[in-house]
């Protein structure tokens, strides 16, 4: 701080502090506090706001436990509140998306960092970047076209004789959503892992190979441990983006796939109950934060490692 004052003088330092304060206080902290405060208030007609009925309660949070549905899993039937069910599935499928992204991205990251000819690397990376510049809504829309009942995928599979009758891809639970999310976010997994592997000394891999380690052992004992920070940051990004995505589940979802963000959206836009929407948004934020914290603790990485 002293350093800043000496270099840029009190005026410029003050301006910079004010800018940062505006960002962190007005755009981040205060809105979230307001959200938290609002989530404890009842949904009232405008005239009653601030009146005697406007008291704090946790009623909005308890709405999560309303309305049980019968579900069966592995032949075992149980009754579960519908929003809890939605939330659990959102988390579960976001984890699935994260794992799939990792499986797709890891070999490619290794390829880009260690195998490919360095002169063609920039071209390849540029090609990989093209889908990132095309907006998310269009990428989801592209899959909507591909997965359509009379779409190219079914035509192709029928053409090569793999299936007899067309498949309703977008009407099979969460299939469409998972396909769309993996496609949309796989690059957020690829680049952190690529960065991590790139910093690994190739001599280590060669030494292990010379000493007789099979290829899978080289990956398991050398490349994977080294790329752990990259994997962690990619996983956190993909998980948070998937769990918080509203576009992809809305476009590629089926009648039986409800995403938790869609539930929030319905409270906000259809029911116009902002307070309950706040409570649900806060639940999403809290649970995701908790989840990421646990994951980071398990993999022994820090927040500062993630944003690299």
């Amino acid at each position: 701080m002293q350093d800043l004052l000496r270099r840029y003088g009190p005026g410029l330092t003050l301006i910079m502090c004010l800018l940062v304060a505006f960002w962190l206080v007005m755009l981040v902290i205060v809105p979230n506090i307001t959200l938290f405060e609002q989530s404890f208030r009842p949904y009232l007609p405008v005239v009653d706001v601030g009146g005697p009925k406007d008291t704090y309660s946790i009623a909005n949070y308890l709405k999560v436990f309303d309305g049980n549905v019968e579900k069966s899993l592995f032949g075992y039937t149980f009754s579960i509140p519908v929003h809890v069910y939605t939330f659990s599935l959102t988390i579960l499928y976001s984890m699935l998306v994260t794992v799939l992204c990792f499986l797709l991205a890891y070999p490619l990251a290794y390829y880009l960092a260690k195998i490919v000819n360095p002169t063609s690397l920039p071209t390849l990376i540029l090609l990989l970047f093209i889908p990132l510049w095309v907006s998310e809504v269009l990428r989801a829309f592209a899959w909507w076209i591909i997965l359509a009942f009379k779409g190219p995928l079914n035509a192709l599979l029928q053409g090569i004789g793999l299936i007899e009758d067309p498949i309703r891809w977008t009407n099979m639970g969460y299939t469409g959503v998972v396909i769309g999310l993996v496609y949309t976010y796989v690059l957020f997994m690829l680049f952190p892992i690529y960065n991590a592997i790139q910093s690994l000394d190739t001599n280590q891999i060669e030494a292990a190979g010379d000493l007789g380690a099979p290829w899978w052992k080289i990956h398991w004992r050398i490349v994977l441990p080294h790329s752990k920070p990259g994997i962690a940051s990619g996983s956190v990004m993909v998980f948070m983006l998937s769990a918080g995505s509203l576009l992809v589940p809305s476009i590629l979802g089926s009648t039986t796939s409800q995403w938790f963000t869609q539930t929030i959206d319905q409270w906000f836009k259809d029911a116009l109950d902002w307070n309950t929407a706040s409570a649900y948004a806060f639940i999403l934020l809290a649970m995701c934060t908790l989840f990421v914290t646990i994951a980071m603790w398990l993999f022994k990485v820090k927040l500062s490692d993630i944003a690299k």
Binding site: M1, W23, L35, L284, L303
Partner: protein, 287 residues
Amino acid sequence: MHKFRQNLAHVYMGLFLFYLLAPLVVMSGAAFNDSKLPSIVPWKAWTTRWFSEMFADDRMMWAFVNTLWVAVAVALISVIVGTAAAILVNSVSGKVRTVLYGMMISTILIPGVVIGISTMILWTKMGNALGTEFFLFNPGLHLSVLGQVSYIAAMVMLLVLARLQSFDSGLEEAALDLGASHAQVMRRILLPHLYPAVGAGAAVAFFQSIENFNVTQFTRGGADTLTVYVFSKVRSGITPTINALAFLLILVTLVLAVVYEINRRRKARIEAARESEARRAEEAALL
């Protein structure tokens, strides 16, 4: 065996590129198919009418204009705030730095839905409390700008912070010793060093803003941006005009990519020529 695995890797790379790019090709192709539903099968006939229909779609054109000004505003504010934040973080240390840095980074991880709803509630509540009808406190795209800045500024901050690591602060000392004013040190020494990162940050902010859906969806009021408009079109009757739009956007991306690539190759060639020249000169000197 080694050779086999390497070939396998090349094949995988090819397949992955196909996986990434094929959907874009399908989407672009459907823009030229004379079929009411956007698809490439069955192929009915070539047509360009979706393009003329797209340009006749006033709402889409408005959405396009809105998207542009939101993106420019977000890029401008994010660059200013993000650069200031990077300089500030770089000059503090210890616990303060950890907390400040952690708070800035965590904004990237906050789900967009949360940012959207919280921004909307705060500003409309403030408007109610002040009892004013001033536009700032009503739902609208200006709130989308504020909401988007709250996490995009962090991305700019990261880029600028990385660039600051290679900055030699001795230059500023020298300038101060030689009698430069504080403003001159900032404008002539520090900022020129940061310009590449600031430029990259502006580009990232611009495109992130165009992409944004979650924050905009909750704060926009009645106004449309392109993303929101396309979304509403996809949910209610779709026409291939969306594909026409997608084709044009992909085309712009491709042109930019090709220009970038040609530029890069030219630079690489010049660099290589210079290097071999230097090597030859060195050899000549040794002889």
